[in-house]
């Protein structure tokens, strides 16, 4: 690459990790920086849709945490069975006469727990491996990249299905399997960011000033690499919830802890007569995943401000 392109890179991305450089055309004549730059939070909260779905997600999490306390007993069977939604049973009752609202609330607990746990694991694994590879480079990088490539190349979803089917039956095992098949996204981004930041002037100067490598990694590289990592992790929550509910729908999972997916599994035979059994759990999955994805998009816009489409 020529000197020119590296200059462009430097201009587009200031050391604090959020670019202000207008892309393309305006680049060559880089105008003086805009007098007032919007903060990431400002950009985020200006979007009514992002705020709305953040509220939806927070509401769902809150309901999942507190709901079971107020939502009633999910296994009490005293009610008339197969009642459509009514004022007494907001989401109706199932074939055993259990209050469906209580069951959906309980199901959310596990689904959300799995989603967030998998994302947290993926982030940890991805950040550790990605930053080691990108920051240290050399042989460590080569080996770790091979590992990342391997995990990307294996048909993860199919293997996760089989592994869960054979080892399954335990939420923790499912979380571990999903994290193992999904961590590479964060790792790749973290590696690219760490490699980019390690090249920046201020990191090189602290290196030549004799700071220990791990301290540079912790104080300069990690904080600055966070924005894209957070965006990717957010998206991972949605994917994890989708995959988990898919597994549960196939009957793979902890039979004692119903999730939205397993409720759908139970609902299918009654599709003819009891539409509400299939509608509400799926609607919950959809709302949560949509919120998470919209949040990811909004975070992406807020944390990586670009000129957008100018050409």
């Amino acid at each position: 690459m020529t000197l020119d392109s590296s200059e462009k890179l430097g201009a587009a991305r200031t050391p604090d990790g959020d670019g202000t450089g207008p892309g393309g055309a305006a680049d060559a004549a880089a105008p003086p920086p805009a007098p007032r730059r919007e903060t990431a939070a400002g950009i985020f909260f200006r979007k009514p849709l992002a705020v709305f779905f953040l509220a939806v997600l927070a509401g769902m999490v809150l309901i999942a945490l507190l709901g079971p306390v107020f939502g009633g007993d999910p296994v009490a069977t005293g009610n008339p069975s197969m009642q459509p939604p009514s004022s007494e049973h907001l989401l109706g009752t199932d074939h055993l006469g259990r209050d469906y609202l209580a069951r959906v609330l309980h199901g959310g607990r596990t689904s959300l727990f799995v989603g967030f746990s998998v994302a947290a694991l993926c982030m940890t694994l991805g950040v550790v491996i990605g930053s080691l590879a990108g920051f240290y480079g050399g042989i460590i990088d080569i080996v770790l990249v091979k590992i990342i490539e391997f995990f990307q190349a294996i048909p993860g979803l199919v293997l996760a299905l089989v592994a869960a089917a054979i080892l399954g039956a335990n939420v923790m095992v499912i979380i571990a399997i999903l994290a193992l098949t999904m961590w590479t996204g964060v790792a790749r981004i973290m590696r690219a960011e760490a490699a980019r930041i390690a090249q920046l002037g201020y990191v090189e100067s602290s290196r030549s000033a004799g700071f220990p490598r791990w301290r540079i990694l912790a104080s300069d590289v990690l904080p600055n690499a966070m924005p894209p990592v957070i965006v990717t992790t957010t998206m991972t929550v949605g994917t994890a919830i989708l995959v988990e509910s898919g597994l549960a729908y196939l009957g793979i999972g902890d039979a004692n802890r119903p999730t939205w997916g397993s409720l759908l599994n139970d609902a299918q035979p009654y599709l003819n007569s009891a539409w509400w059994l299939a509608l509400f759990p799926g609607l919950c999955i959809f709302l949560v995943v949509l919120s998470v994805n919209l949040l990811g998009d909004a975070l992406n816009d807020a944390l990586n401000p670009t000129i957008g489409r100018v050409k």
């Binding site: 060559a28 003086p32 730059r37 957008g308």
Partner: protein, 292 residues
């Protein structure tokens, strides 16, 4: 050189706003007036950020197409007003009247299209002369390339930087434009290649009797190739005139500083003059007062 009648290009009080964020924008060009007569060669010099590239792009109709890019003032080709003109009118101007040579030969060629086709596309329908292939080869050789028959079948990645820049020149002259805008045409090239590409540009412009706007931060490049010069700073034209006169007797302190920095680099290499931030602001205010 005829000096009577309307000039080929007349720019008055050009003002360009570019978006920099989802709600922020910057005034990249504040007030630029310039004129180019037929056959004339004009230079625009200034540091990066002075607005010279944006001015050149505005003239060539190549600013970003976003509705948030605002162009005010007047750009007239042969008296025809182009600011606010419909896209069709601009297509016509771009296809016949004005050609542009870009800065970076590595990124300005379509990587998945053969060289020959990229040049052929640039020849407007009414101007083909010797059959499409003949024309393409003609312009490639005119731009100083050799083995053009084989070259036309190649893809950009198979060419060196200097060759690609010549292909970009061939594309720009293939419409036989009245005006050629060359934006830092040699900055991305090696020093040895630079001079040869400049010579080619010089010769082609002379052969086709095309007007030229040469945009550069490098006074030395502009000095040797142009009749008149405009010095830009912070979105304003701060000084203009015959190239020799401006360079020999610079009046504006910025031009003086620009010249000193060239000298300090070339002669003793000790000092690099640059202008303090406070001065910039006061000049900008002065210019604005003068303009209104």
């Amino acid at each position: 050189m005829t000096t009577t009648g309307t000039p080929l290009l007349q720019v008055e009080n050009l003002r360009v706003h570019l978006p920099t964020g989802s709600r922020t924008e910057v005034e990249a060009v504040s007030s630029v007036s310039l004129a180019v007569r037929r056959g004339e060669r004009v230079g625009i010099v200034g540091e990066s950020g002075s607005g010279k590239t944006v001015t050149g792009r505005a003239i060539a109709g190549l600013l970003p197409t976003s509705p948030r890019v605002r162009v005010q003032g007047s750009i007239r080709f042969d008296g025809r007003e182009m600011v606010g003109a419909p896209p069709k009118a601009w297509d016509q101007v771009r296809s016949r009247t004005v050609g542009m040579v870009f800065q970076d030969p590595l990124t300005y060629l379509n990587p998945v299209m053969k060289i020959g086709r990229q040049v052929h596309e640039a020849i407007p329908p009414g101007r083909q002369r010797s059959g499409e292939n003949g024309d393409v080869l003609h312009f490639l050789s005119l731009a100083g390339l050799e083995n053009v028959r084989e070259l036309a079948q190649r893809f950009p990645h198979e060419l060196s930087g200097g060759m690609r820049q010549r292909v970009l020149i061939a594309i720009a002259i293939a419409k036989m434009p009245d005006l050629l805008v060359a934006d830092e045409p040699t900055t991305a090239l090696d020093a040895t290649v630079q001079q040869r590409v400049l010579t080619t540009l010089d010769e082609t412009v002379a052969e086709l009797d095309t007007s030229l706007i040469l945009i550069s931060h490098d006074i030395a490049v502009v000095a040797g190739m142009t009749d008149r010069i405009y010095v830009m700073y912070a979105g304003h034209v701060v000084e203009s005139g015959r190239t020799r006169e401006v360079l020999e007797k610079p009046e504006h302190p910025y031009t003086q500083a620009l010249l000193r920095s060239v000298r300090s680099l070339t002669e003793d290499g000790v000092e690099l003059y640059s202008i303090p931030e406070s001065l910039r602001a006061s000049w900008a205010r002065k210019e604005e007062a003068r303009a209104s």
